[in-house]
Assembly symmetry: C2
């Protein structure tokens, strides 16, 4: 285990776990939600805002930063923390998901993936080793291994091949990571010598493939493990079932990260299934589209019913937006196309996600997670009220 | 004079005046810069941000708010202060400038202006009286009279006709305002009974017309007076000359507002000529275009020279952007099209303008405005360094 990685299990409540993750740049209280800062910025808000909202950790995207401004430039700036002026932990994904969803003229081989930049058409390569190198230059506290991400639905054959290749890539990526973190590579200066690396479990919605992926990836050995390939369009019940099935097999003394999930109720349900870490673009992306999360469900602020509504978006919310602004004002900003609408909506939605995690953590500490979960799901409706 | 309007002259230094303007929602330390919140929002930042930056007063636009969300709606919400959650003073312009620069199929008569909304083509009318009524519903602390704004350059004939009409409109607007503020109109509830009204001096760059405009407008009698029709494309020396000429004739016991100016050096030079109030979109608009004001002049953050520059935009600046972020990061955000670029640049530029005004006020108090002005102009170059 990396010198700067510790995971302490503080309490459990059923399958839910309350933990503390020690990373090079500080502690992360788990279960935790990581706001997504794709290009070293969280859209619509400043990192000072995100710090004030109480995020322990943010996520950035290897693919996007490799393209622009470049991991070399960020390394010369002293690493991603200094470049973006974010003093707390950062997790970078490996770029795998973006290569499979964004890049053009993609060619996949055992070596890795060649593709064209979606920005300027440049030919680029990502491999298990180069994804490690890029993240080493970025200097995140947690680097993710490079995986193959099949789309959903996938045939069993295709999902099996992708899973098996991902396990082989896991070994290559881990070898490279250990060579770097143990100082056996001298031509690549460390932006963050305390970096940890997480493995990724694949296998689509097939339990037999998930089993083999867990066995192979845990055999390689990482500081912790993520469940990839979910929240990609499969039915919610499949996501929950695969999450439960996979999480149960992962080492109990390591945090478990469900990549890309989800809706607020997904967070609660996945914590119940043993998940400790989340990231998702929903709070930020939906904010820009005028959707605000509340305790009773999402609302569409553009709805005419809010035109003269003096209430804050969520009367029970303590966020900077709800403490000051009315639905009527937020609707006006959204309808007028003012970018401040995106800012105020994003502040609210991020606070809502982070506050939901605070509620979850407290409930687990007090041994009342079951009733928290029951109340949350009874109160929260995924169907927008507008 | 309105019950809630006082102007105290605290100190002078040459032509420069240090004052305090008492308005219904608080004091404005002058000389003051008013950030422009066209549609009840200051583009790119939140009003909490603007309050934290130390703005005593903001400006909103009658034309835009009349179109959307409507002054009726804002009146029902309790007025503009409550609608936008800004507790400090607000000044609304009369819509005159926007009608003459934005609206379509404009028809001008002695009665007023008929035009089509630039948003949806609706036929609308603005007159000296209706501009008062709209601002009465909005409930700003300072309402501006409705004026005719000729474009520049204007022939003497055309400028004279517009100026003469503006003086006639001044009387009509003042009559309507007094009827409202003295409670002689019962069908228009007051959003802000302590509203004051400023007259506007026109006359383009013709000193004889400015003289007649001052005489006519001061004869009508307003709480204070603004100089309109400048900063519309005329040479800087003309703007300074007309400002000096006009300001000198305005009552010394009332604040003088130079509408729409200007560049940072324009603020300093206009204060020297007796101006107390400013508004301008430059700090916010230029921020969105990647131009950052610094003590030595504006910089274009997209310039390649900043790609790896670890310094803040202005090393001598104490704004939230300069205290945390580097030019390299701000350039990355701008090049990537992140909206956070607009936010961080706007915070900086507004702080720069507000801080320049703080410096001006301190210098006048200490009787050192002449040396402040000299140093500022020696240090500041209007030519972008990039």
């Amino acid at each position: 285990m990396s010198a700067r990685f510790e995971f302490e299990l503080i309490a459990t409540s059923g399958g839910a776990r309350r933990g503390r993750l020690r990373l090079a740049h500080g502690d992360v209280e788990t279960p935790a939600f990581m706001p997504v800062g794709t290009r070293a910025a969280i859209k619509g808000v400043t990192l000072a805002d995100v710090e004030a909202l109480g995020a322990d950790i943010t996520l950035a995207n290897t693919y996007h930063l490799h393209l622009r401004p470049g991991d070399d430039l960020i390394a010369r700036a002293g690493g991603l923390h200094r470049f973006m002026s974010w003093p707390r932990p950062i997790l970078t994904d490996s770029g795998g998901y973006q290569v499979f969803s964004l890049a053009e003229r993609r060619k996949l081989s055992e070596d890795g993936v060649t593709f064209q930049s979606h920005l300027d058409g440049r030919a680029l390569v990502l491999s298990p080793e180069s994804a490690v190198d890029i993240q080493w230059r970025l200097g995140a506290d947690v680097a993710m291994m490079f995986d193959e991400c099949p789309s959903w639905p996938a045939a069993h054959d295709a999902a099996e091949a992708a899973m098996a290749r991902t396990v082989r890539w896991a070994q290559r990526g881990r070898d490279r990571f250990l060579a770097l973190s143990e100082g056996r590579v001298t031509d690549l200066p460390a932006s963050n010598p305390g970096q940890a690396q997480f493995g990724i479990i694949q296998g689509s919605t097939f339990k037999d493939l998930r089993d083999r992926s867990v066995a192979g990836t845990v055999a390689v050995g990482f500081e912790a493990y993520a469940i990839g390939g979910l929240s990609v369009g499969e039915p919610t019940e499949d996501m929950y079932a695969v999450t439960a099935h996979t999480a149960a097999q992962l080492p109990a003394d390591r945090p478990r990260y469900l990549m890309g999930a989800g809706m607020p109720d997904d967070l609660v349900e996945s914590v119940a299934r043993g998940i400790d870490l989340f990231d998702c673009v929903l709070p930020t992306r939906n904010a820009r589209n005028g959707q605000l999360f509340t305790r009773t469900g999402p609302i569409a602020i553009k709805n005419a019913r809010y035109a003269e509504d003096p209430l804050p978006p969520d009367p029970d919310c303590g966020c900077p937006t709800c403490r000051r602004y009315s639905r009527a004002y937020l609707r006006h900003l959204f309808m007028a196309g003012e970018m401040t609408a995106a800012t105020l909506n994003t502040l609210h939605n991020l606070y809502f996600y982070l506050d939901t995690m605070r509620g979850i953590r407290k409930a687990i500490e007090f041994g009342t997670f079951d009733s928290f979960r029951k109340t949350f799901l009874e109160t929260y409706s995924r169907r927008p009220s507008a």
